[in-house]
Symmetry: C2
Subunit: 434 residues, 2 copies
């Protein structure tokens, strides 16, 4: 097919919701001037004849995304296949090797192989742009990489997985169990048939690894991200946390402290007035502390056709304007590495949930074990559950050493009255960051 003179020729691999949305967006958007025209010339997907709400007959077809990436007629390879390895990785490598640019929504690929790909990008000049990989509906990648390029980023915290956030919000609103709400979400298409990537915290972990990389100038290293999902958050936790003034969110967090870059994902109790506490349903949000700009908050839709397609489009337009930047904001050889903080030595406030057989004696025993470890109780709540064999008791601690708490929890877990292991989550107030 013939292309407009001077146009950047785009190949799109992956024609699911986002790929289809991108084709529609680019077809509808006229050139605004100031940039080279963008023209999709070829596409690739698993199934050519699948029914789509966009006509793909006008584009050349490639059965294999790697073949599309290798096509010298393609200036920009848009990778919407997903997965950290397999065809997505091979195709991206092939495109970069020949100096073509890559725009991708693939957080797993970049979180796990980003350093190698960035090195390849620097060698050949092929750019990698990935706004769509993290919270497509809030331009957080561009904000951290470009708008905060003059700042020192200290911490980034976000609600970055829409599926988990939807599940937690829905449990709270409907009073149904995790399993119930997940089954519904799967039926409605809000959660994958295999929900592990989302509910296990891995997707949020990939995303925060990328934000940490651009925020702190460190090579992304998913292996060094501590990941805990929401599978063990119960309706009891949500209800009792609410009575104590907290909401439970899956918080992805990265901070630079004592020269280390610490990156983690875990459910946390956030005080009602914490900036992330009110982010509901499928929304994403991120809070960034940087010097000297102060605290920034971003909220937007996290995923789906519109947000992700618009993020890809913004990256394409930047490329069409000739913008060239190091993949993670700085040359790859200057990047430091992730180095987790030793969590045993951290201090903070904690939430402890116990499920016990007989209550009165247990509270005394629990208080005793905590007190002897030097952990003070901030608030305690026991909920009447008529007819139940086991009774939940939840408490929050005052600020204490994690080592002290862990030793007390080990003793508490060994008490005869416990019907399941104690559950611990971090508590965060409005301004707290650890």
């Amino acid at each position: 097919m013939s292309t407009r003179e001077g146009a950047l020729r785009i190949g799109v691999a992956g024609l699911g919701t986002v790929g289809g949305g991108l084709l529609k967006l680019l077809a509808a958007r006229g050139a605004r001037g100031g940039e080279r025209p963008l023209e999709v010339v070829a596409v690739s997907a698993r199934n050519r004849s699948r029914k789509r709400d966009v006509d793909i007959s006008r584009y050349a077809w490639a059965d294999d995304p790697v073949q599309l990436a290798a096509d010298p007629n393609i200036d920009i390879f848009v990778e919407l296949i997903g997965g950290s390895d397999g065809p997505a990785k091979r195709a991206v490598e092939v495109a970069l090797q020949r100096g073509a640019h890559v725009v991708t929504a693939n957080k797993a690929l970049l979180a796990e192989h980003g350093a190698d790909l960035a090195r390849l990008s620097e060698k050949t000049g092929g750019q990698i742009a990935f706004e769509a990989a993290v919270g497509g509906g809030m331009p957080i990648v561009k904000a951290i990489k470009e708008s905060l390029a003059g700042c020192d980023v200290g911490a980034i915290a976000g609600v970055l997985n829409g599926t988990c956030n939807y599940l937690l919000t829905e449990m709270e609103a409907s009073g149904r169990s995790f399993a119930d709400v997940l089954a519904d979400a799967q039926r409605l298409g809000y959660a994958e048939a295999d929900p592990t990537m989302d509910v296990g915290g891995f997707d949020a972990g990939h995303k925060i690894a990328l934000l940490a990389a651009i925020g702190f100038g460190a090579a992304p290293d998913f292996q060094a991200v501590e990941v805990e999902g929401v599978e063990n958050v119960t309706l009891t936790d949500i209800r009792l946390a609410g009575k104590l003034g907290y909401r439970i969110k899956l918080v992805a967090k990265a901070e630079r402290r004592d020269g280390r870059v610490d990156v983690s994902v875990a459910p946390r109790l956030l005080a009602f007035d914490h900036p992330l506490a009110r982010i509901d349903g499928p929304l994403n949000a991120a809070v960034v502390d940087a010097d000297p700009v102060g605290r920034l908050t971003f909220v937007g839709r996290g995923a789906g056709e519109g947000p992700t397609a618009s993020a890809v489009a913004a990256d394409l337009i930047d490329l069409a304007l000739g913008v060239r930047r190091p993949v993670f904001g700085r040359p790859i050889d200057t990047l430091s590495s992730f180095e987790p903080i030793d969590r045993a030595h951290e201090h903070g406030r904690y939430y402890l949930r116990l499920l016990v057989k007989d209550r009165p004696g247990v509270i005394a025993a629990v208080s005793d074990r905590l007190g002897r470890a030097g952990v003070s109780i901030e608030s305690i709540l026991q909920q009447p559950t008529p007819g139940a064999d086991a009774v939940p008791i939840v408490l929050t601690t005052q600020s204490c050493a994690r080592t002290a708490l862990d030793s007390a929890v080990a003793e508490i877990g060994a008490l005869d009255a416990m019907t399941e292991p104690p559950r611990v989550m971090r508590v965060e107030d409005k301004g707290s960051w650890v």
Copy 2:
């Protein structure tokens, strides 16, 4: 003085808080690679010998900013003088005329003369970057201009003036009058000696004019912005609005409707769950609705040394990377113009505050006038004020035509019992945008 080879040579005009902060930031930040080095070579300010917490003896000095802007040794002219006319305008013109780049925090200059300056920029290739002009601590200019470049922006609303927001927040928190709180703010340096630009809504008007320009592809035109300030918001309004479930904010707003670009600033009652209702003190926030990305929210510090200096630095780094964009996102000849919506024909919910001598008969009369105009009352509140000559009555309407309300208000204002003219403000609920 000698400069590093390949460095972009910067001249800074205006060495107040922001200018000093910028010099400190640039001196502290090492080159991160990937961009040309940035080097401040010359400065200009009203008073060379004023005591500053940054040493300016290492920079060349210019008494006149226009002379600095004309210096062929300066690649980028940073304009931190302020004012829509006078030396700031002349200096920016001189820099652009010779093809130098301009980075500015001057919202008044761009809102009033932006189209002419953009035309000049296109002619000579000198770039104009202005992230620092709107909410320095939230990268809203870059977000709208670049991240939403693939989207159609429908509406932008923001709390964009920190001084007004501080005053309203402080009145609510302390129960003191507007005049009292303003006097304190002036003493503390939070408000200017002549507060008209802030309190009168003009500063917010300049800012929303710029956001409207980049969001809608329209030449900024401050003359077409309808501006109302916060001078007439009373403690009674704040308290009674609070009892009805609303907070009063100075809202700057731009929307595209029926092909028109409507831009306005006015105090509005926002429902507690409206995304802008909880933005307090000196914070800025903006909400953007765009297709297909959805709704985005940004929160950050609006002004001051750190936020503004970091915004200027981000613009400088973009220039050092060679980024070139049309000033308002699109070529100047393709920009449309602002065209206010005829407010008489708008529909919405309204707040009405009356100050009356004798209450019972008045409520009947007021209800009668509204009812006859077809305006239904949503809620009504009268506050006991023992010993006062006049009693406040406030009410909110259901959705109605502004023309109908205006005719009823004219009749109500003519009632004998009124001790001052009725006061009308728009009411906005969580999702409403008019």
